[in-house]
Symmetry: none
Subunit: 185 residues, 2 copies
DNA sequence: ACCATTTATGACTAAAATGACAAATAGGAC
DNA sequence: GTCCTATTTGTCATTTTAGTCATAAATGGT
């Protein structure tokens, strides 16, 4: 859990330290005091809530950083190829070559986009889509199906909640266009 | 009885180690010194009391009282049998029947104990142990291998970082004893 | 016994809290 | 616009608390 000092907040808000302390004392900004002699600390989440409530500009440090992409493909070559494209496009990319890693990275890395190979041995890609849509809390996650399987199978994944599908093989340009169309905000 | 070092407390409170030592020296935070050269230890209960007394935020690790158990087994019957035992013993139990769920639940449910079936089709249990020990941040996670495979395979998992192993089939009593021995604080 | 990591300590520097007071700002009334 | 007033914010000096650094010691693991 990250916390901020009154001085840090003063810099972020471009106000005097004295003012921040008064905000905290008056309860406008939620904080707590260290045992020592009462130095203030504010939880990052409370600070962000404070900024939002008062419609203050959000400092760059707290802007949601780079867009994250999780690449799920058991063929490392393919995964790396995708990763090159996404990384070059400015996304932070992580590769999962087995379903366990995929699950672990989905809930810890929290990507905005997941590319998913449907035809992984021993894995049911449909179940992954189902999980992401039913048991996973970030509904804004974009799922891009990448598969050598036929149109029918890819459509089935879309029906389950995937956002788009791309047949293998694909060109880098196709891939990039598809991803960027999914990630427009 | 679980104890904390000054460094751990520093991290939990997001404060410098030096400051924690001063809190202890001044008596604000109750602790005791090891015989060696005076390294500090603080009882978990004293730390929690300290947090409460000073209205400090309680770290996530100390939030939920209940101990969480993740059961990874593709055979739902077996998983449910384990779940019955752990639930009855007072643990909060969750079942993952495929590796993707297992990964997702490990990093979101954040169990203190994971039971792991080595012989799941299409999944390499060893990779899961490796992931948990190398790429997962909670090193205090206990891993209990449950497998019908031979002693040798189970030993291999232990070598990779699992904490204990139990051959299939097992009695409820064996299971419970093993789990509780892993979770003693 | 050895090593890497963590912790303790003192001295010092940096940062924060506080009160009193000055300056700036916002909103009304004219 | 000007004047007035209430509220908020900034400044300053001082005291207290927290962080940094270097070094020595202890701890944990192999």
């Amino acid at each position: 859990m990250k916390t901020l000092t009154s001085g840090e907040i003063a810099k972020y808000c471009d106000v005097n330290l004295r003012t921040v302390i008064r905000w905290i004392d008056s309860g406008r900004l939620k904080g707590y005091k260290l045992p020592g002699g009462g130095n203030n600390r504010v939880k990052e989440e409370d600070f962000l809530a404070f900024l939002q409530d008062n419609e203050l500009p959000i400092p760059a440090d707290f802007q949601s950083k780079e867009t994250r992409v999780l690449i799920v493909d058991d063929e490392l070559q393919v995964a790396k190829a995708i990763s090159r494209v996404t990384t070059r496009a400015g996304f932070k990319s992580v590769i999962a070559t087995d379903p366990f890693m995929a699950g672990a990275l989905l809930t810890s890395f929290k990507p905005q986009l997941m590319t998913l190979d449907l035809s992984m041995p021993g894995v049911n890609g449909y179940d992954i889509v189902k999980f992401a849509r039913h048991d996973y809390d970030d509904k804004s996650l974009k799922i891009l199906i990448i598969s050598a399987l036929g149109e029918e199978q890819r459509q089935q994944a879309l029906d389950l909640g995937a956002d788009m599908s791309l047949p293998k093989p694909f060109s880098n340009k196709e891939l990039l266009n598809t991803i960027e169309s999914l990630l427009v905000k």
